[in-house]
Symmetry: C2
Subunit: 395 residues, 2 copies
Amino acid sequence: MPPLPPLNGPVASTAGGLLQHLRDGRPRTRAELAQLTGLSRPTVSQRIDQLLELRLVSPVEDAASTGGRPSSQIAFNPRAQVVVAADLGALHARLAITDLDGNLLAETSSAHEIGEGPEVSIDWILHSAHELLAGLGYGPDRVAGVGIGVPGPVEFSTGRPINPPIMPGWDRFDVPAAIRQSLDAPVLVDNDVNIMALGELSTSWPGVTDLIFVKVASGIGAGIVSGGTLRRGAQGAAGDIGHVALARAADAPCPCGNRGCLEAVASGRALARALSTAERRLERPSDVVALAKSGDVAAIQAIRQAGRDIGEVLTVCVSLMNPSTIVIGGTMAQAAEHLVAGVREVVYARSIPLSTEHLTIAPSRAAGNAAISGAAQLAIDAALSPERIARALGA
Amino acid sequence: MPPLPPLNGPVASTAGGLLQHLRDGRPRTRAELAQLTGLSRPTVSQRIDQLLELRLVSPVEDAASTGGRPSSQIAFNPRAQVVVAADLGALHARLAITDLDGNLLAETSSAHEIGEGPEVSIDWILHSAHELLAGLGYGPDRVAGVGIGVPGPVEFSTGRPINPPIMPGWDRFDVPAAIRQSLDAPVLVDNDVNIMALGELSTSWPGVTDLIFVKVASGIGAGIVSGGTLRRGAQGAAGDIGHVALARAADAPCPCGNRGCLEAVASGRALARALSTAERRLERPSDVVALAKSGDVAAIQAIRQAGRDIGEVLTVCVSLMNPSTIVIGGTMAQAAEHLVAGVREVVYARSIPLSTEHLTIAPSRAAGNAAISGAAQLAIDAALSPERIARALGA
DNA sequence: TTGCTTATGAAAGATGCTTGACAAAAGTGG
DNA sequence: CCACTTTTGTCAAGCATCTTTCATAAGCAA
């Protein structure tokens, strides 16, 4: 007796469904699409016409003839619309306009106190977005979606932050409604780590369906992709591995109020404190990275040990989820070689062979762009969903 | 650039799609179904006729009139077909015939060495199934599906065991093909822990979408449900938490060849060994349970400590996945009060508040029937899938 | 240039869903 | 007890959609 019947997905044979087959960017002939979808050629032609109308696809040069009339080809047109991607950090904010492939067309960033409240941040987002759009010569009507990452837990379905520890004034604030005051498009809001996981996945790990993205910066968090989609858990709190108890952390105090958390010994904040001396004060994770890059042995050893500590926790994650890929990102991953070495050392030694045999542990490939790419991806997925295409055709 | 476009699901408005709305067992009127699906009444009537033809639904007594002609009602008919559910353990095998609601109609079990190879086991399954079917007066053509749980990792898509440690001769054996020699129905094979998780979920936790089922018997394993579906991971090895390293386990040797695994100190096998004395030899997990039930303090304390150890690992799982429910099952859960108490003690103390606020930790409700129910559920889901219904109508 | 091959686009036919209409069935009030 | 009301279930017609078929267009080879 299933509680709720699993509702069936959108119909495959709509213009939107056809578009999904073209999103990989490869040009296709109508005949190829017919075979791919199982629809007849005239039907495909009609769908193509609709998509051409929306400018979401465009004709490209014909394919080489195989003896007869050459097939005309059509390809996804990522320039038809743009999305706004924003990444709000604790002290820094970044915003970009990308096309529907996630390519950055324009970007800006600014020092920014998230603690000043949502109105300030939203105003900055809207102002910056309109400015960049104007610079590109695009009107606000070209915006197909808005993706926003924030440094705290979010109820994804409504786009409202929930009890965010470092975002005073944001609790249950209706971000999408505020954005829609001057941008008429779907607005998606998510935790910054989830956003980064998505960005990393979409830009750098094609084909991967089970991935753990670990962000190591001031704090430590993870974004979890399983079965090809981001998992947020029952309350949207999935991936919060920073406050797992670690034997080696013993009684180290953690900003969360508890003791012995992973973050208390392995985060950028913890490393900065541990490596600070009377004459050399380290304030931020980037200071630790800089020190390590300068060749400081103590810093390198500390980072490698942090990698081991994180690896300790990841060992359990690997056994539980059996991912194919673990990606280490965040500020501290700028010293990736040491951090990843520590993680690998522990995970490969401790996990069962079946899980590690095909396990890749690698530093972030998207690097500084993971968050902004993920925010863009979130918006793009919403903008190109079959439901959204159907609405656009109806209007 | 997504690697593969997410394929859209089956069409909602087929006979199979309609059936999904009736699977909860509640009788519905045609008008209710029309509103539920968005289809018109004549269309619903036509679909109902198809389902009546297949005997998958049947008319029930009319609803009370609201002033006019009373609506006739139809309900899902779980007796239309049956499924075969089998649970193969290391030393024991169980097989049941259930209806399409998962209700047990007949069952049998037998001592059984999985190590004797697949042919012996498959023969037993087929023989037992036909015997029970005959006893119920059903022909083999009434079988809509077969679900089988085995004590080892399985490549779910093909139904082949992969490198199973305790199943010599089963590696990559094509179980579905062997079963289909005398039963013409879809055959689903999965790991016993996954099967149990599914059984627990479907029989006892309606509405739950994020659940961890922990089996504590000779070994320790977990089945993971996230977003409403079972997650098997990249190689089908998800949930293998028995061989996670545990600080308290130190250098305790584990049958896996490693040292310091959770299983080495908290499994039924480990407890049996630890509690054995010269004059009192404990062989199996059930011996430990019996001892605890007799009031033996050492056994109770040992079980509770095992719960704490398991809780230690689950703390990480909770932070990572943010489930709403953790269920403790397996032989050792027959001493559930002590085991669960230990788990709760650690998990509630160690995890972050947001994750534990609405977290339920409970002993298995399905108890001994979890595996067989899960195997049945697997088969039922396949048998009642819209794709399968469509095929049945086409033939 | 002509014939062959292959792809496109338009028209015709088939299928399936929906709308509207009507008959059937049961309660309600006289 | 009978007529009326109300709701249901089914039938026929209309409409949209998809597919099949056919004519046309475009390149390649002789």
